[in-house]
């Protein structure tokens, strides 16, 4: 497994992804820096974080996960390389798992960049309270965790389609409804694509829609959808490899 991960890293090293990763954190940074605040003190940090979370988590984060997945599968699709990869003495499931781990690793880097962006923006504004690393960290981690089911589905789509655009289209089809779902008290807790946003926005700040839903529900939805997507993906991939 470690070898597989290492090989994914080598493939990624020279890819375009490193230019693209900072885009969302940068945007969030600008938004957090420039947005108008209502409150002061520790509340101010909450608001800044909420702004950053909205900018990043509403559309960008779910869409970026799709781009990661498509990018990781692109190398193999482009050079007929699936045959080569699967002819090695590795189990197809391990290959799949390594790709998924790579997607989540990229997502982790992205979230770390977000933490830096938010902290930086807040500091630049000269907020009085010290940087609430705990809150920011939890937000980033929660967002990361919520990406698991999305990554699993996108990996399935990216292995199934040869073009780069098709899995992205799938991603868009599921992500765009966020615009309506996020505000719905009834549906938001159940919709996997809006979970990253819900997980990242600190609770009790903008008390509208479903943002105050319990952690348990969130985890159940995230965990459940992750299992469903992962199993479907694995089944498809392993069957195709044979």
């Amino acid at each position: 497994m470690a070898r597989l991960l290492a090989s994914e890293w080598i493939k990624l090293r020279r890819s375009i992804i490193w230019l693209l990763l900072p885009a969302s954190p940068l945007l969030a940074f600008v938004a957090c820096w420039r947005s108008s605040l209502d409150s002061g003190g520790a509340q101010a940090w909450r608001e800044v974080l909420a702004v950053g979370a909205m900018v990043h988590g509403y559309l960008f984060l779910p869409l970026l996960v799709g781009i990661f997945a498509a990018l990781l599968c692109r190398f193999e699709h482009a050079s007929g390389g699936w045959k080569q990869l699967l002819a090695l003495p590795v189990r197809p499931a391990a290959v799949y798992g390594a790709k998924l781990a790579a997607i989540m690793a990229l997502a982790a880097i992205l979230q770390l960049l977000m933490c830096a962006a938010i902290a930086g923006a807040g500091l630049l504004r000269g907020l009085d309270a010290p940087v609430p690393w705990g809150m920011i960290g939890m937000s980033a981690f929660g967002g990361w965790l919520a990406c698991l089911p999305l990554a699993a589905l996108q990996l399935l789509a990216s292995t199934a389609f040869q073009s780069f655009a098709a899995p992205l289209a799938v991603n868009v089809v599921f992500t765009l409804p966020n615009m309506l779902v996020a505000n719905s008290r009834d549906f938001a807790p159940w919709y996997p694509w809006v979970q990253p946003l819900l997980a990242m926005v600190p609770q009790d700040t903008y008390g509208f829609g479903a943002f105050n839903v319990s952690l348990e529900t969130l985890l159940a939805v995230i965990g459940g959808s992750f299992l469903v997507f992962l199993c479907s993906g694995l089944l498809y991939f392993v069957r195709r490899a044979v």
Binding site: L19, L20, A31, V55, S163, F164, A165, L168, V172, L176
Partner: protein, 237 residues
Amino acid sequence: MIGRMLSVELLKIRRKLLWMLAALGPVGVIGLQAVNYGLRYDYLMKLYGDSPWEGLLRQVGSLMLPALFIGLALVASMSAGIEHQAGAWKQLLALPVTRLQVFGGKVMLSLLLLLSSCTLLLLLTLGMGLLLGFDPQVPWAEIVRQSYLPYLAALPFIALQSWLSIVMANQALPLTVGTLGLVLSMFSVLMPAWMPWGWPDRAVRSADALQAAGSGLALGVLVLLIGYAHFARKDVS
């Protein structure tokens, strides 16, 4: 010649998902709105009082804009992707067709598909309003305006995405740029009037909608010229 290029492009996308994508956008938007109205009918009717058509247009418009932004990137990418996948650039450009015709053909395909999507959206919006029992006195001017002006205003992006997807085999960059465009467009209210990401939104809502559409048309043509100039000089790999 234009007709010939277009007929060839249409032949090439036979049995490809690209057709579906062009239809999926409007169907998806209206579908979501159907759910929206289905669940919140009373609230929405109260909110929009005596101008239900305007309300519907506003709701549709809010979903249509992001769909347009990402849709145009996907269409441009898939259209160019067909040639990249087939390794067809070297064959195409070794034929007695000018680079302008090749570039133009691809751009025209995207423009045509997106125009069809906008038209489909218009028809579906109309259908939905009538089905919901809105006043049969349809505000034609508004509907047509909302369906086509954002398309014109988004022309610079159609041009940009087409250019990027044609000159690069790796679609990761064009599609990420497209995603970035999508997200930026969501913040159009914060943008000054000269930033293109806000123009489609302006074309829907504000008083200077025609101006936004016109700027889009002008900038779009400019980006197309730049893109073509680059493509014309490029060596084919």
